[in-house]
């Protein structure tokens, strides 16, 4: 037990088992292992050996670590290694002897499971708790992160409030319009009545005027004429009322819905305020159209605001200095293309370019932002690749930040860059 069996004793065992000469056994077992080594070092991905298992070549990525004695950051270079997966048959063979022992144990265990199941049920809770514990904190964090966005989202609610108010106002306006229409109809009716009365009365009046003088007829005339006159007045009053109501509505709405839309306010002010009958409808239609346009504009604006806020992290990120040299290359190309056209200019441009290429390397460090906001689909490895050029700085990033789970950083999380 726990002894080291050397190559020698293996070939000895071979001799015992097959009866070949010691030399042959030696050469064979040497050839056997050498072939594996050679195949793997020659770039073979894997070597399958029946009755033993698979030897596989695995690449270990380079990673960053810290020298414990002086705290310096060092890169542990990547290397290849041989991994070995034993065949199932091998594992079975190794456990054969155990199974004999286990058989006795399993009889005992078969009695145990009944007892074991009871505590198992109890164990469920702690396990679940363990799983659940990290989740609430996660959610809280997320809520904090999106608090700002929530505020913004609440603005559409206010938009809806405005819309509700607008709809209320619309209803009021419609009732006012109906009233105005009724008043109009009444007025027309009264006018007709007046005309009829006048027509009917005229002969009588004439007769009366000739017969009985002006006194009584005058009274009657006044009576007759007063009635219709009062009616139109009432109608006009009503109309004015509706107008004032509408203006009030318009004003209130302007204050509510237009307070942020300056342009449409100016237009609303310019609207004609004529009280004419024909203008009534036109005025209303234009008003409604303007209102709708204003609301659409307002909604669009708020949504744009939200988008802008969401885009802020995107703007923060690409502070990489790479585009600059690229652009310069392009200018160089174009400059080459137009060489024949202006030789003198090209020289100066090229001279500039020769000075520039070294700058990006110098600029790179100050240009690196100190934080990074996680976007969808990003991992810390990718960030490391993006800002440092290697995946090795992942550990450094994790060290500087406090993550619940470095493998699953929530979207929107701000990552400090060391």
């Amino acid at each position: 037990m726990n002894e080291k069996i050397s190559f020698q004793s293996i070939s000895d065992a071979l001799v015992r088992k097959t009866g070949v000469s010691k030399k042959a056994a030696d050469t064979f077992s040497k050839a056997f292992f050498d072939t594996i080594v050679e195949s793997l070092s020659r770039g073979e991905d894997s070597v399958k050996v029946k009755g033993l298992g698979t030897f596989k070549l695995v690449t270990v990525e380079s990673r960053e670590s810290v020298n414990v004695s002086n705290g310096e950051r060092i890169v542990i270079p990547g290397y290849k290694k041989v991994s070995f997966t034993p065949e199932d048959a091998v594992v079975e063979f190794l456990n054969k002897g155990k199974e004999m022992e286990k058989a006795e144990e399993s009889i005992a265990e078969e009695i145990l499971p009944a007892q074991e199941e009871a505590p198992v049920v109890e164990e469920k809770d702690p396990v679940n708790e363990l799983i659940q514990v990290p989740e609430p904190t996660h959610v809280e964090e997320k809520q904090d992160e999106f608090a700002g966005i929530d505020l913004l989202i609440s603005t559409p609610e206010s938009v809806e409030e405005v819309r509700m108010q607008y709809e209320d106002a619309k209803e009021k306006m419609e009732t006012a319009v109906e009233e105005a229409r009724k008043a109009n109809a009444e007025k027309v009716r009264l006018e007709k009545l007046l005309e009829r009365l006048e027509k009917n009365m005229q002969p009588e009046l004439e007769a009366m005027g000739t017969v009985a003088g002006n006194g009584t007829t005058h009274l009657e005339e006044v009576k007759n004429e007063e009635e219709p006159k009062v009616a139109p007045l009432a109608v006009q009053d009503k109309k004015e009322e509706t107008e004032t109501v509408e203006q009030d509505i318009a004003e209130s709405k302007r204050q509510e819905a237009f307070n942020r839309v300056v342009n449409s306010e100016g237009k609303a002010e310019e609207k004609p305020r004529k009280g004419g009958k024909g203008f009534m409808r036109f005025w209303l239609v234009t008003f409604i159209v303007l209102l709708l346009a204003a609301i659409v504009f307002f909604l669009y604006k708020t949504f744009r605001n939200i988008e802008a806020v969401e885009k802020v992290p995107a703007i923060e990120q690409p502070a990489k200095p790479k585009p600059a040299p690229k652009a310069k290359k392009e200018t160089k190309n174009t400059a080459d293309g137009t060489k024949s056209a202006s030789g003198v200019k090209n020289d100066s441009v090229k001279a500039d370019e020769k000075q520039h290429p070294q700058q990006p390397a110098v600029e790179e460090k100050p240009a690196r932002p100190t934080t990074h906001v996680m976007r969808r689909g990003e991992s810390l490895t990718r960030i490391s690749q993006l800002y440092y050029g290697t995946k090795d700085s992942v550990r450094a990033i994790i060290r500087v930040n406090t993550f619940n789970d470095p493998n699953n950083v929530p979207v929107g999380a701000v990552v400090k860059l060391p």
């Binding site: 037990m1 726990n2 080291k4 069996i5 050397s6 190559f7 004793s9 293996i10 065992a13 071979l14 088992k17 097959t18 070949v20 042959a24 056994a25 050469t27 064979f28 077992s29 040497k30 050839a31 056997f32 292992f33 050498d34 072939t35 080594v37 195949s39 070092s41 073979e44 991905d45 894997s46 070597v47 399958k48 050996v49 029946k50 009755g51 033993l52 298992g53 030897f55 070549l57 290397y79 290849k80 290694k81 041989v82 991994s83 070995f84 091998v90 594992v91 063979f93 190794l94 456990n95 002897g97 155990k98 286990k102 399993s106 499971p113 074991e116 199941e117 198992v120 164990e123 396990v127």
Partner: protein, 92 residues
């Protein structure tokens, strides 16, 4: 590389017939595995060490049946490559 390709290479290298190679290699495997089964480690110069490794029994949870099951402990064969092999593989 499959087992067949491997055996061919070994036969070329050891100047042996395929039949012989198969017999010998199965005997070799037996020798190694017997040593492992006894709880010994088999160290082969320039190649690596084969060791028996105990895997402790553990409880697993089946989410569909919502039951806990016990995976019995078992022994597997572990292999660790030698420093020489590491060097050879990473030469290039």
């Amino acid at each position: 590389m499959t087992n067949k390709e491997f055996m061919e290479k070994v036969s070329q290298k050891a100047h042996l017939e395929m039949e012989e190679v198969k017999n010998l290699s199965s005997a070799l495997m037996e020798a190694v595995l017997e040593g492992i089964a006894d709880g010994n480690s088999v160290a082969i110069q320039g190649f690596g060490v084969f060791e028996p490794r105990e895997k402790a029994s553990r409880k697993i949870y089946n989410p569909t049946t919502k039951t806990y099951m016990v995976v019995p402990s078992k022994t597997t064969l572990s292999y660790k490559m030698s420093a020489v092999l590491k060097e050879r593989i990473n030469m290039e």
